[in-house]
Symmetry: C2
Amino acid sequence: MSDHLPSTARKPGLTSSAPSVVAAELDPPTPRKRKAPGPRHEDKRVAILRTAAQLFADNGYEATSLDKIADQLGMHKATLYHYVSNKESILYQCLVLSFGNLDAVMSEMEDRSVPPLQRLRQFAHSLALAQNNVFGRCLVLVGSRPLDMMPGGEIRQFQRRLDETVRALIVEGIADGSIKPCHPGLVSSMLFGSLNWVPRWYQEGGKLSIEQVVDSFMDVLTSGIAAPRR
Amino acid sequence: MSDHLPSTARKPGLTSSAPSVVAAELDPPTPRKRKAPGPRHEDKRVAILRTAAQLFADNGYEATSLDKIADQLGMHKATLYHYVSNKESILYQCLVLSFGNLDAVMSEMEDRSVPPLQRLRQFAHSLALAQNNVFGRCLVLVGSRPLDMMPGGEIRQFQRRLDETVRALIVEGIADGSIKPCHPGLVSSMLFGSLNWVPRWYQEGGKLSIEQVVDSFMDVLTSGIAAPRR
């Protein structure tokens, strides 16, 4: 199954900033000279992934066949195979796209000139934005379980890095006295649990923006963990 | 499909306190006199549901066939059908069992002699205990989506009541001045998101008990929403 996956996708720490860029990185030039797929090919591929991600999130991964994806796109299944090799590979690429610019965001979290609680709020905003676009919703609602048999484990590795980023901020805040003594792993679990739940109920275009939701959560979380002012 | 479901199970507000009692309620005497199934029948049925819930939670609902459930129990599939009619009905009954004693807990939340923040903590403890037993894990990890085609919607209705219970406590606390002005629905979402995430990472027998996890969460949440002391 892993043969269907382009090799660069297995590297941890994808530094992608926009879906089309990530998609391009997923299909790198091979040592043998091969005509690189043009930008139209890549656009089409991302469009396919977007439709698949929407169907996976709305109807479930198991219930979404390649036939349904092709139907939704008004495309022959044979044409679909020109862009994607199988359902696992589609899901895998959707999950990689869901990372969005989070790799860059994690780097920003190391900037110690900004107070830890403020960085934590920035992180939560970036994470929530990534989780509530079409690819992020797919990751949160479908999860990586259907790919459990795949070697590699970059999805899990990436999620672990997100968790470690939050824990590091908490540890830093406890050390500099801005955060009360607490269990960094449990605070991180609370933050991810709260945010992972949002795509299950949030309706775009409703009364609240994602920013307002995250701000409310972070108001509670940061006043809950902030050290009392001296 | 609903014909497989006993009629009392469709009533909202099951007042069950122990799995075997709930299971008995799921198979009430019919108007025509019929020999009630004996306690051994019920014990066996709950044992089947327990095994099924474990397999659903560990391997996913789609990946768990009736054959696998029968295999795991060392039972012929024909014998299994003596207790349960199909996979949807098994999942439905597991989800109903997952409610445990939460109906009674919701009633206790109306006792205004206990401060709202303290009741909120009690509620979170009861919810977490229910979510981290075998039936609760099944509800959290599988969800009720596979039953979407079933009429009734008691599972969703029950979940809505849980949410309303939390919102009511927040509204009460804002009114009596013990909770800062905040968005009750978002605080509720934060609480459920945090707790729903626990069965995905919590390992029984590890360093932390469920009580410790919930206490940490509630320390953060309640100090985050408590009104400043006057």
